[in-house]
């Protein structure tokens, strides 16, 4: 055959399964009975199931969280009936959605209408392959991690356009056009942010990037030099736009376009759009955590070293993985919370403002920051303590301000539950 033996070896991008280890523990000696050629697709399937499981659970939680956060920000209580503080509300909603009739408009392009949710989901789902949770809990550490994210993330917009077009509805089409404009434009600052991180880490791999930031908190790329927070802000803003989250939610602006590109979707297809949106939220936040916030690193050097020293100590390894899992999920969930916070704080901006923000604010600033970071990396390869200190000093003011705002808000929420004397 022309395509010879090397193909599979390199085609197996998904070569490193921690999952495999787990399956081995489960099956033990019986594993040998399974031939290799069956094992291979089975492992792939298992990986997919794990991702789908995570997405579902996350979406269940995040939707509830969104409703609670929005409610408390508007001095409401949100769902309270089903389960503790409405915790099971999303499950009930999910069951309801499953039972709903699947309506396809009469003049819609039936095939494309059917395919669109699948393509949107296909643009998000593979991203979880490279999202790490700890050294052992990750599907695959491919050596093109960030590039893979940038490439596959671009597929989603095709699905959105397809949905908008196939619905044969003016509002849907407007939503799709807005989505295309916005998503394609914001890929540029996003890509520049990726480039900066790749430049600093010298690798595309998520795990490599995290390893570069181990040690003390000051090693996080966010504090690498005074320009990195600019990159972070630009990345975060662009990722909001990529997720179509407010204030960049023009593609589905309820007050203008009914609900944008998924106006004509109901039942399970609608919930797939919803699932993809929430999955994308987690992915961009997890990637931001990996790129800027040290990934699963706790930021405490002695603790990290103690956790890493697990030779001959399986319990330590379990502990290390658990701690790292908790750390990276916490960081990501914090960023998810910020996304929700912004959604319920900022008004939606106009399309021309969206373009203005992207091309005249984010792009030049990211570019400047990227060039400056490259220059710094050239002068002091690996970073410089003085610069890090400078970064923390300069950026502590807005940071402290942000923290104060968060404190005010959380305290405010708690205070609401304290019965007042009046």
């Amino acid at each position: 055959m022309i395509f010879g033996g090397t193909m599979l070896s390199n085609g197996l991008v998904f070569a490193r399964y921690s999952l495999a280890e787990w399956i081995q523990g489960l099956l033990g000696d019986r594993l040998e009975m399974i031939p290799e050629w069956i094992l291979f697709p089975l492992l792939m399937l298992a990986g997919c199931l794990v991702i789908i499981g995570f997405i579902t659970v996350f979406a269940l939680f995040a939707i509830w969280m969104e409703r609670k956060v929005s409610a408390h920000m508007q001095c409401r209580l949100g769902p309270m009936e089903v389960g503790f503080h409405g915790a099971l509300q999303t499950i009930a909603d999910g069951v309801k959605l499953l039972g709903k009739e699947d309506i396809v408009p009469r003049h819609a392009d039936k095939l494309l209408h059917y395919l669109a949710p699948i393509i949107v989901f296909a643009g998000v789902f593979p991203l979880f392959v490279v999202v790490p949770f700890s050294e052992k809990i990750l599907i695959s550490d491919i050596n093109l991690g960030l590039f893979f994210v940038a490439a596959v993330g671009a597929v989603e917009v095709v699905g959105v356009i397809m949905a908008g077009w196939a619905s044969n509805n003016k509002w849907s089409l407007f939503g799709a056009m807005r989505a295309a404009t916005q998503l394609v434009s914001y890929e540029i600052p996003l890509g520049l942010a990726f480039l900066t991180i790749i430049l600093l880490a010298g690798s595309f791999s998520m795990v490599d990037i995290i390893h570069q930031q181990e040690g003390w908190l000051s090693n996080w790329f966010l504090f690498h030099n005074p320009f990195m927070p600019i990159i972070f802000l630009s990345f975060f803003t662009a990722s909001l736009a990529e997720c179509k989250r407010a204030p960049f939610d023009l593609p589905e602006a309820e007050s203008e376009l009914v609900s944008g590109f998924h106006t004509e979707y109901s039942g399970m297809k609608f919930s797939i759009f919803f699932l993809a949106e929430y999955a994308a939220m987690y992915v961009v936040c997890a990637i931001a955590a990996v790129m800027f916030l040290g990934g699963w690193s706790t930021g405490i050097k002695p603790l990290e070293a103690w956790l890493a020293d697990s030779a001959g100590n399986p319990m330590r390894e379990v502990l290390s993985n658990t701690v790292h899992l908790v750390v990276i999920v916490t960081k990501s969930m914090f960023l998810v919370f910020v996304q929700m916070w912004l959604r319920w704080t900022l008004p939606r901006i106009r399309l021309d403002q969206i373009m203005h923000v992207c091309l005249k604010v984010l792009l030049p600033w990211t570019m400047v920051a990227m060039v400056a970071t490259s220059a710094i990396e050239l002068c002091w390869p690996g970073g410089n303590m003085v610069l890090t200190a400078l970064t923390i000093v300069i950026w502590s003011i807005p940071l402290l301000w942000t923290l104060k705002a968060i404190l005010d808000m959380t305290v405010g929420i708690f205070l609401k539950f304290v019965p007042s004397g009046r």
Binding site: G202, S203, W216, A305, D309, P381, G382, G383
Partner: protein, 524 residues
């Protein structure tokens, strides 16, 4: 386990890269002085793009044009000086940048030719009325980028570089053609040009990838190592034809010539004149180098006791004959001067291909491309000169039609006389450079015993007399509607005069130029 994270970071990638590629990088640094003209162009492009934002719109044609002129002449001077003398303390390498481009007298000659042509086109732009009030920063930067592509194309010795340089020549010119957007003809022709260009480029890259598969390398030198076993001969032919499509598009040779008249008519006249000389010459330079590396002559290779030869020369000869005949016959029926010059430029591509035919024979037989080089030298002055006069006439009277040239002779005697000289040169009559060039081309063809091709070329020259002489006749022998003198600007008159003088010098005192030409080779 308490290892310093900073330390770990420092001996990461960069160091390994330094060790492994340090020597390569250093050799690349040594190469930089030899692409000084290209670097000047790149710098000028960036300056022009920025300057276009700050210089007031009405001054742009003059001030930015002057800057481009200085940059082009500076680059041209650098090309000549780097090419003819050694930089102190530097050893002249055979190839630059890991075999991407060559540094030989052939490349240097063509670079100087392109940059000179570029300088003339910049002056033409200044003389032209077509760009009043236009933003010119982009115009000049695109022009310079295309010239940069020409320079690289003449020197390219690697298939990657050839393709990239070809696109660098083409893509800026698509936009130059559409520069006057309000003009419907320009929009239509730019679209045709771009579609043709992308198809030709796509077909060419098919061929290049076949060659890459046959040789396992992108270097042109590896082309001569293709083993012609069995079926491979057919594949070499297929790949050769596919690659030829790309070159033919740039040269405007027959199977890929359709864009030429439309674009020449639709584009602003300075752009037309640029396309007819610099970009065509770049295509020829690359084609000549490619054919030389290919072993154009008797391509006989022994494979399994059987000798297989592919007669490329026959193919090129037929294409040359068809191209010149088609160009000349079509030019007969044109009324628009630009369109007529477009067809005449197709015809000249045919004449020039005769030089490639002359490259047949033993290795080191250089007369063929020396003839091409000389012809381009005189074609530069003849064609650019003719276009300069056409621009002046169009600017002063708005006439682009051959009929409206009636009676222009007495109204602008000096410039009309110069146009007559240019047209006589384009016909190929003495005492002009056109005659010397065509003589050299015919000589190499006859030396190769392609008598039929020489006869075809002779017949074609006779045909071309009709449509060139028609302009001269209209200017001097016919009566026009007006007898008012047409204003002469000192710049226009001097440029036209200089070019006419050069055409005559190349026709009479050609020996110093022939000396220069005879020193051109593919060896540095």
């Amino acid at each position: 386990m308490f290892q310093s994270v900073f330390a770990k970071k420092i001996d990461f990638e960069p160091k390994a890269f330094q060790e492994e590629f340090g020597s390569v990088i250093n050799s690349l640094k040594d190469n930089l002085p030899f692409i000084a003209p290209e670097l000047v162009l790149v710098g000028a492009i960036c300056v022009l793009i920025l300057a276009g934002l700050f210089v007031p719109r009405r001054d742009q044609k003059g001030s930015l044009g002057l800057f481009s002129l200085v940059a082009l002449l500076g680059a041209g001077w650098l090309a000549c000086s780097v090419g003819t003398s050694h930089f102190p303390g530097l050893e002249k390498p055979d190839t630059l940048f890991q075999g991407m481009i060559a540094f030989d007298s052939f490349a240097v000659f063509f670079k100087a030719l392109f940059l000179l042509a570029g300088a003339v086109v910049v002056i033409q732009t200044y003389l032209s009325h077509e760009f009043e009030g236009f933003a010119m920063g982009e115009y000049y930067s695109l022009m310079l980028a295309s010239l940069l592509g020409c320079c690289l194309l003449a020197a390219a010795t690697d298939m990657v570089m050839i393709y990239l340089a070809l696109e660098l020549v083409s893509i800026p010119t698509y936009i130059l053609v559409i520069y006057r957007k309000a003009d419907k003809r320009a929009t239509e022709s730019a679209l045709k040009y771009a579609i043709y260009g992308s198809v030709a480029g796509g077909v060419m890259i098919y061929g290049l990838s076949l060659f890459y598969g046959l040789t396992g390398s992108t270097a042109l030198t590896s082309l001569s190592t293709i083993s012609m076993e069995g079926a491979n001969a057919a594949v070499v032919v297929i790949a050769g034809f596919l690659v030829f499509a790309g070159f033919a598009y740039k040269m405007a040779a027959v199977p890929m010539h359709f864009w030429c008249p439309d674009v020449y008519e639709g584009a602003p006249i300075p752009v037309t004149s640029y396309l007819s000389v610099a970009s065509k010459a770049a295509g020829f330079a690359a084609f000549v180098r490619f054919m030389d590396a290919f072993g154009l002559g008797e391509q006989i290779r022994i494979a399994g006791g059987e000798s297989i030869s592919i007669q490329w020369v026959e193919v090129v000869a037929i294409i040359a004959a068809v191209t010149m005949t088609f160009g000349n016959l079509s030019a007969l029926f044109q009324d628009n001067v630009k369109r007529m010059l477009g067809y005449s430029s197709i015809a000249h591509a045919g004449y020039l291909l005769m030089g490639v035919v002359g490259m047949k024979g033993i290795a080191g037989d250089v007369e063929g491309f020396q003839a091409i080089s000389f012809y381009f030298l005189s074609y530069l002055f003849m064609n650019l000169g003719a276009f300069t006069v056409v621009i002046v006439i169009a600017s002063r009277t708005g006439a682009e039609n051959i009929e409206s040239y009636k009676g222009l002779g007495p109204r602008m005697p000096f410039r009309a006389a110069c146009l007559a000289i240019f047209l006589v040169g384009l016909i190929g009559l003495p005492p002009t450079g056109g005659f010397t060039g065509k003589f050299m081309l015919l000589k190499v063809v006859i030396l190769q015993k392609y008598y039929w091709l020489a006869i075809v070329a002779g017949i074609n020259t006779a045909i071309s007399v009709y449509y060139y002489a028609r302009i001269i006749k209209n200017m001097w022998l016919e009566k026009g509607s007006s007898t008012e003198q047409i204003l002469a600007s000192p710049l226009g008159v001097s440029v036209i005069g200089l070019q006419a003088a050069m055409v005559l010098v190349l026709g009479v005192f050609f020996s110093p130029f022939v000396d220069i030409i005879q020193r051109i080779s593919f060896l540095s």
